[in-house]
Symmetry: C2
Subunit: 431 residues, 2 copies
Amino acid sequence: MKYSQYFIPTQKNFPSDAEIISHKLMIRSGMIKQASSGIYSWLPLGLKVLKKIENIVREEQNKAGAIELLMPTIQSSDLWVQSGRYEDYGKEMLRFKDRSEREMLYGPTNEELITNIFQSYISSYKDLPKNLYHIQWKFRDELRPRFGIMRGREFLMKDNYSFDLDESLAKKSYNNMFSAYIKTFLRMGLTPITLRAETGPIGGSLSHEFQILANTGESTLYYDQELEKINPETINPEKLQTYYAAVDDQHDQNKCPIPKENLKISKGIEVGHIFYFGTKYSEKLNALIQNKDGKKFPVHMGSYGIGVSRLVGAIIEAYHDEKGIKWPLSVAPFTLSIINLMTDDKLCSEKSEFYYNKFIENNIDVLFDDRNCSIGKKLSDNELIGIPFQVIIGKRDLNEGVVEIKDRLNNLTERISADNVVDYILKKIKI
Amino acid sequence: MKYSQYFIPTQKNFPSDAEIISHKLMIRSGMIKQASSGIYSWLPLGLKVLKKIENIVREEQNKAGAIELLMPTIQSSDLWVQSGRYEDYGKEMLRFKDRSEREMLYGPTNEELITNIFQSYISSYKDLPKNLYHIQWKFRDELRPRFGIMRGREFLMKDNYSFDLDESLAKKSYNNMFSAYIKTFLRMGLTPITLRAETGPIGGSLSHEFQILANTGESTLYYDQELEKINPETINPEKLQTYYAAVDDQHDQNKCPIPKENLKISKGIEVGHIFYFGTKYSEKLNALIQNKDGKKFPVHMGSYGIGVSRLVGAIIEAYHDEKGIKWPLSVAPFTLSIINLMTDDKLCSEKSEFYYNKFIENNIDVLFDDRNCSIGKKLSDNELIGIPFQVIIGKRDLNEGVVEIKDRLNNLTERISADNVVDYILKKIKI
């Protein structure tokens, strides 16, 4: 993609209500634009990151055996009345009447609708287990939306729902999702810390929260250092669930069950939450399963959520410096940018164009900064938007037969023979 | 994907309000489930087709130079008041107040919001032309939703917006989209017929409608037979726009400008609509562009819509028989299904499993019907869901060293040496 033909409206300033660094950087790097309070348009760069994150979530769900479908954003109130949650949910649920005076709502979650879908088609133990998910926009009418897309009103979420014959099988499904979540966050370059959690309005008896570490995070976490050392190949969810972890207001130094030298304290951001709630919804919505003996029982359910749009902000909180964002490769909007410092120099332009075409041939998603603007603006924009690698084409360098390559993650630069640039990058990104 | 572990709830019956064949077949093949009036959940098979269609639309938009972003579903009424359309739009616009009593709406289209985004960042002729699109759910509060997802209330649409310095450049953008639309529909196996159209509430002076041919279509089209012979490599939009085409109530046999032998009459379904409306929105929303001489003018705009979810129904209307759907390869939920007729036979099961793994190795999206159910149900379900190729594994065939392969599009079957099955299919789908 040529920068001059693309649409990355970087900004020097940010709105005064942008309190946290991810909100500031998303505005400044032209990733989002506020449409109305707590509601954002995702500009091209922001949307690319959102899609990358969505896709990692999707791939890990599929690998874990979950099946994708898509429920609508607008629901009728009927099932919510039946489950008893229509009254329970407060003003955060956006409610309205359609033109025929039917009570409708913008779904904040989907336990009711998915239970209804399940019970419409599945009634035999032979069809279990089932794990159904979707990735869909939700609405939560926050009184005071803040932190940009981190606590917005319209947000993208992956939610799934497991259906099992009994509690012990349901806990297997729960642990399967527990592992899938850890793999998902690790793939994004994040360090997930798992905490036992309250079940809140979803209900149930077992729940875990997934926080990721970031110095600028909202919560303070106290946890066993073992939780930082997870190997995605050998995750043991049951063992992980035994390690100590607590947020600020639940941690009591005097009652902490682990030795001080094992305790770590870091800031975290919540990005996922999972629940086992047994038959809470299946009883009320009549989702019954016939077992081998022909007897009918309410199906055992769990639900599992990842804040897909929230992760965009969370990753920025974990990966940035004073100059801008430093995207991990797996979620970066582009793999690399080619920065032509001298667009009016024939050699610089030809060489830049040559690399651009070579990278495209190799299926690398490359941003070519061909803009006719000052070197200063070019370099600072590229620092700000945080593409993992910068290939910087300057006249003096080219005359010496070299090109500068910058690794944005560690801010190290190397000067590489101009002939080796493509191979060097391909090796770096392991293709 | 193994059928037994997937979720395709095929049905014998369909609701009494399902009047058209695509609605009946989508319910019967377990692609969708009604959530409330005119609002549907997309079950796994339906979602897969929807995503395939969405992706073709996206690829052709990108090829045509349009840039993807994503506007939210919920908008504030402010910009609509400014453009004058808040009053104009009738009850089909879903309106409501949020918890802070602000007037909000579920976007039925996005001329206002995109113009606002554009004018926030772009003010120089140097940044033109720009063409911005998104693929997003819309809501249209139809009084009597019908025809399943073909005239539902919540629907997925691709809409884009072009921005140019003057009318003649804007018409270039218009013609560029005209060509992209034809390529898009041709890739889905459809025959698009283009008609000059009314501009309606969008406004403007130039508009075309894209209908696709289907025997069960809603409109009757009268058109020059040349329109059926478009070559995607050599589309000439200006020439195409000169050919005669009219819907039923606009066609007058006595005034028809082309010879009778060139006139074709077919049924069609509208799947796209494009508009050039000049400065209608840019004037009201203050989207001004500075030209080379430093003078400011309102930017010239066009808007372009494709009914992404509607296309799922339209393709079924064009491709079905009395047994079910016949998906064109480019939008099929799976490329082929392996049907094991005898799941309790060791040889049949081993051979089926062998093919299944081979196809997966070759990156073919394959559905493996491993269900333990009657041969009759297996065959009829597979006809119904309409996967392009069926690889049918039977015991008697295997003993003779052959396998039956059915091409669902023309319903022809061939018996192929069991050793050649994978190569035969790979050749058929040209990988």
